[in-house]
């Protein structure tokens, strides 16, 4: 397990370097001069040129990239064009709100998705099976930002149960989390169902039935535990979906997270902010995937020897 972890950590280095290179390169091809944007329309071309020289914007590409990586390693993601504030500070101030939203959404998705998948796989009633699978298909097809608008319309505008926008209490977290959880819950429901249906045909399940074990015990001890291995991996992958979905949901519900921050940065063409938030989120995503891989290797030792 130590070797496996070390190998996975080593693979991370070139990937993260690639991520920094890509975010840096995209910023370089972006039209418009960041210094001119920073100094405003009143700055003379001479002044712009002088500041470009001071800040190293005239240096060769690789020198600038090296400086960027060095700064990133020291926790410096640069300053925003608007207001010259520290980009990392701005991201860290908004990150807890996104974490809160994604964690609650993930919990709802796992409980709802795995539960629905279990019902669809083992229920003897055909109606229950069909209903859960239709619900999963609807969950996969409904745009979360539109569902969010509908829920605001019903629970905010008509019933006044929650704030229409910008609410920050636990009550105001439920609707955004629910909208965000729907798609991953649908994916998990379908996967749990197929995984259980596969495991349920295994010889050891037949053995358990033959020795007279109760239906509940067979499902809980033999079927559910073994069928959860692929589900755990997909839970990790769905986290990416949540980070992406948060961009839409935070904007609809006006929540102060990094998804909303990213969109406002793009609208204002504040590239240091965009670059910072992209790099930060991609790093979190890569680290989260690493954690999932390690858990997977721990759950299923065969993976480590591949």
């Amino acid at each position: 397990m130590v070797m496996y972890t070390a190998r996975r950590l080593l693979i991370l280095i070139p990937i993260l370097l690639g991520v920094t290179f890509l975010t840096f390169a995209i910023a370089q091809v972006t039209p418009g001069d960041p210094v001119a944007l920073m100094l405003g329309v009143s700055a003379t071309p001479e002044r712009v040129e002088q500041v470009r020289e001071q800040l190293g914007y005239n240096d060769p590409f690789l020198i600038q990239y090296g400086r960027y990586v060095w700064n990133v390693l020291h926790g410096d993601l640069g300053k925003s064009v608007r207001g010259q504030t520290d980009v990392l500070d701005e991201i860290l101030a908004r990150f807890p709100s996104t974490v809160e939203l994604t964690v609650v959404a993930m919990l709802l998705a796992v409980l709802g998705g795995v539960g629905a998948g279990l019902i669809a796989a083992i229920s003897r009633r055909r109606g229950a099976q069909t209903a859960t699978m239709v619900a999963a298909l609807v969950g996969l097809s409904i745009p979360n930002f539109w569902l969010a608008i509908l829920l605001i319309l019903v629970f905010g505008v008509r019933l006044h149960w929650v704030a229409v926008a910008g609410g920050e209490g636990f009550k105001d977290l439920i609707l955004p989390a629910l909208c965000l959880a729907l798609a991953p819950a649908a994916v998990l429901a379908r996967l749990t169902r197929s995984s259980i249906l596969e495991v349920i045909r295994e010889d050891y399940v037949r053995t358990a039935q033959a020795k007279g074990l109760g239906r509940r015990a067979i499902v809980m001890i033999h079927v559910l535990r073994n069928s959860m291995i692929p589900v755990v991996t997909v839970i990790g992958l769905q986290f990416a979906g949540l980070l992406g979905g948060a961009v839409f949901i935070e904007n609809v519900f006006a929540r102060p997270g990094i998804g909303r921050f990213a969109v406002s940065a793009i609208a204002a063409r504040d590239y240091p902010q965009v670059q910072g938030v992209v790099l930060f989120t991609a790093t979190i995503y890569v680290l989260f995937n690493l954690a999932v891989d390690l858990v997977y290797g721990w759950l299923d030792p065969r993976i480590r020897y591949d």
Partner: protein, 294 residues
């Protein structure tokens, strides 16, 4: 499953083509057929929008401002008196066009990369797959947002961004399929008969990728429609007065209290379209590649 296995055996015995066999299975797949008929209907309505709607989706009618759904205006009107149904049908032309082209861009890019990497292996494979790994380190929406940020927010940029961001996933799965196919005996036989690499790739390997690629692209089309609409909703794609579905939702946001129909119907169009596509995608998967069944 048994029926599908028998189906493949029959197909092999009868020397039936993949398409004929897929169509025969799809015809007996109620959900898949519902998706096919539904999506065909959506496409038909959207393509025929200039014929089936009374006129220009941007033309204003100041005598009918913010009217709720009625027999005259089935989906109601907006704050400028524009008919929502007309706008939804015209908007579908934009949403579907962008999503379809993005999926084609992704398929061409992904197949080129995946086929080259998988077929030649070695250094080409290492370099291309490391590039794919880096691109996959970004959640899709983030990659799309970065490209939109660099190129400026509009519908053309959204098309490029979605197309490019889908390439890594397509490339990875195409490479996987190529790695399995290239070791088959008929490929060795083709080489022994003196076939060139290009000939083997295009005539022997590519047809094997086609079925999973069609399934993947169909399901990807649903995601592309949602992303296109989502980005326009955020103000990063189509801009007013465009009737693109997401842009209409964005516009309707300010009228949520007084005119619910401005937000409900464009969203319903996205939902219905993606639902039909997902049903069709599931049906195609079961018909063309039962091994992938979830």
């Amino acid at each position: 499953m048994t029926e599908l296995q028998v189906g493949s055996a029959e197909r092999a015995a009868a020397g039936e083509s993949l398409w004929r066999s897929a169509w025969r299975t799809l015809r007996h797949h109620p959900a898949g057929m519902m998706g096919l008929v539904g999506f065909s209907l959506v496409l038909l309505l959207v393509v025929l929008a200039p014929v089936v709607t009374p006129g220009d989706p941007t033309s204003m009618n100041l005598g009918h401002l913010l009217e709720p759904p009625s027999r005259l205006h089935l989906f109601g009107t907006d704050d400028l008196g524009r008919d929502i149904l007309t706008r939804v049908l015209w908007g579908g032309r934009e949403s579907l066009r962008v999503a379809l082209i993005a999926v084609v861009v992704a398929a061409i890019g992904g197949v080129s990369l995946g086929l080259t990497a998988g077929y030649f292996g070695g250094r080409a494979d290492s370099i291309l797959m490391r590039l794919v790994d880096v691109l996959l380190a970004f959640p899709t929406i983030l990659l799309v947002l970065s490209i939109v940020a660099a190129l400026g927010p509009n519908l053309g940029t959204v098309l490029i961004a979605i197309g490019l961001s889908f390439i890594p996933n397509v490339a990875r799965f195409v490479r996987g399929t190529v790695l399995v196919t290239k070791n088959c005996e008929y490929i060795t036989a083709a080489h022994l008969l003196g076939a060139t690499h290009t000939y083997v790739m295009l005539t022997q390997i590519l047809p094997n990728i086609l079925a999973p690629l069609i399934i993947y692209s169909t399901l990807g089309l649903g995601s592309a429609i949602m992303l296109t609409a989502g980005l326009s909703y955020l103000g990063l794609g189509a801009q007013p007065p465009s009737p693109e579905w997401g842009a209409m939702l964005n516009y309707g946001r300010d009228y949520l209290r007084d005119a619910w129909w401005m937000s409900v119907f464009p969203g319903l169009a996205i939902f219905a379209c993606v639902l039909f596509i997902n049903l069709l995608g599931d049906g195609l998967r079961d018909a063309m590649d039962p091994k992938l069944r979830v």
